[in-house]
Amino acid sequence: MKTTWRSRLMPTLAGWTVALAMFFPIFWMFLTGFKTEITAVATPPAAIFRPTLENYSAVLQRADYVQFAINSVVVALGSTLVALMLAVPAAYSMAFFPTRRTRDILLWMLSTKMLPAVGVLVPIYLLWRNFGLLDTRVGLVLIDSISVLPIVVWMLFSFFREVPSQILEASRMDGATQGQELMHVLLPLSMPGIAATALLSIILCWNEAFWSLNLTTVKAATLTAFTASFSNPEGLFWAKLSAASTLAIAPILVFGWISQRQLVRGLSFGAVK
């Protein structure tokens, strides 16, 4: 079936329209960061303006930007690491030694992801308070790794299942213990999948706002809370907020751009199962 440029025109236009529509707010936010506060809220919205760096300097002057940025990095990496350490054995066991209950367990894990976090806000807050985990990075890593664990387990499970079982049997015949089988054969072969899972987990933890806002205040908050702090009862400082937001998402945007191929590959594998 020949595809003429005509038949490709409509889907292409639609795709570009959607992409631009989704990207536009971010682009606008990027621009707004360089406007003065007055220009930022002008109606009609100003497309042409004289750029200024006053917002960025104001944002960066706040002592806690670097602090919060470090927190974001630590929490994202830490949660991913904890999640992986728990998920690899779990996914291994479910992929290669499934029982009658395995299916139910997997579906249950998925269902916990559908739980709205607000539902457990009260108990988690109280628990964290009682254990002295409020406003600590450890506390945040704990809740984030729990939040992201179902996704990590699911993705690792589907990647592990793609490794042909005969190759693992061959390693057993060659004399590998279970640990050696894991280290020398399974992990190397599923490394692309593990990498994609880790990337996704980092991105999800970086963007995590709900728990960061509720469980932390000054010491352990992440960039998401930092961005939110630019709202106050008198109204929003749109320009500063935009500058802060841009700074908050810049690292992860770059990170996502660099790793986009792995991400797409990893996500599409997980979904097709």
């Binding site: 042909p164 005969q166 015949m173 004399g175 590998a176 054969v185």
Partner: protein, 358 residues
């Protein structure tokens, strides 16, 4: 070198029993082929010997020692998988030396052993390549090489040639026989292809539906099949089977009526048989000939010209099919209605349960 013994081995998957009490004794340095149709349990049996499947009941002994609780790596066996199962992320040399690496063998010795095996299999130029850069035949060699490096007591081969094209299969069959002779090691070979079994094995074990039908040398199986199934499985084209009824049994011969009341007299005494019993008469295509004085009549439906031989597929007057072997340059044609003679002394008789009548 090793002996392998199976004693009343059974396998169950949940409530379903798939291997029903198999007894087998494999001598040192023997090449034993386990053949059977798909699903007969031959691969499962091999995997139980290897340790990749649990033995539900019964004993597997290697060199006289029970191995039920011994993990696969410590049984001293090496397996060649149907899909080769090579490690895609390692080079050929690393694939072959992996087992040595796990055992802590120093690098120099590892390299030495790998090179020795590579020389025997004539695959030195492949050592630094990855599996994805190899052809089917080369992958096969690497799989065999990986097993050889371990210097096992016995080799287990699970349909290793089934993924190769016909020409390569024929070539590899000869190579495996040569290898077996040179290595002087027990080989247990699973296949669904009876040609492989016939040409390569010292002994053949025919399996069907989880049971051993017969075990014996290729010629034994060909000339004296113990069951109807074994008779039909070994030999290509298949043995012809005719429904028959006993007319009279004496010390010298057995008289049967087949097709349309034709009588066949088979020399030799047969036990446990009475007039009126229903039996099956088996006769191989090469023991049927076209002769004017033949007892059976039918029409030639299809001819298969193989060059040195021609197989005539005929339909007898009562609908029974008969395959006859004829010379390559036979003048018979489709639609002809010749008479067929069966060589009475080359016939096999099977009772109603499929057992050979002797």
């Amino acid at each position: 070198m090793a002996t392998v013994e199976l004693k009343n081995v059974r396998k169950r998957f949940g409530p379903q029993e798939v291997i029903h009490g198999v007894d087998l004794a494999i001598a040192d340095r023997e090449f034993v082929a386990i053949v059977g149709p798909s699903g007969c349990g031959k691969s499962t049996l091999l995997r139980m010997i290897a340790g990749l499947e649990e033995i539900t009941e019964g004993e597997v002994l290697i060199d006289g020692l029970p191995v039920r609780d011994v993990p696969p790596a410590r049984r001293g066996l090496a397996m060649v998988f149907q899909s080769y199962a090579l490690y895609p992320h390692m080079t050929v040399a690393e694939n072959m030396s992996f087992s040595l690496r796990l055992a802590g063998v120093p690098k120099q010795e590892r390299d030495q052993k790998v090179r020795a095996v590579a020389a025997i299999l004539e695959m030195e130029p492949l050592l630094d390549r990855r599996p994805r850069a190899l052809s089917g035949g080369q992958l096969q060699r690497v799989a065999i090489g990986r097993a050889m490096v371990r210097q096992p007591k016995a080799f287990l081969l699970d349909e290793p040639l089934s993924n190769l094209d016909a020409a390569l299969q024929a070539q590899m069959r000869l190579e495996l026989v040569r290898l077996h002779r040179d290595l002087e090691t027990t080989m247990i070979y699973v296949t669904h292809d009876q040609v492989e079994a016939m040409t390569m094995a010292d002994r053949i074990v025919v399996m069907n539906e989880g049971k051993v039908e017969q075990a014996g040398s290729p010629m034994e199986l060909y000339q004296k099949p113990a069951t109807l199934f074994a008779a039909g499985f070994i030999g290509a084209p298949k043995m012809n089977f005719l429904d028959a009824r006993v007319l009279d049994a004496s010390d010298a011969q057995l008289a049967l009526t087949v097709v349309n009341g034709v009588t066949v007299e088979i020399p030799g005494r047969r036990e446990a048989i009475a007039p009126g019993d229903r039996v099956k008469l088996g006769v191989r295509p090469e023991h049927v000939s076209i002769e004017e004085s033949g007892e059976l009549h039918g029409e030639i439906k299809v001819l298969e010209h193989l060059g040195p031989r021609t197989y005539l597929h005929a339909q007898l007057d009562d609908g029974t099919r008969l395959v006859v072997q004829a010379a390559g340059d036979t003048g018979i044609r489709e639609g002809d209605r010749p008479a067929f003679r069966i060589r009475a002394d080359a016939c096999h008789v099977f009772d109603a349960f499929g057992r050979r009548l002797t």
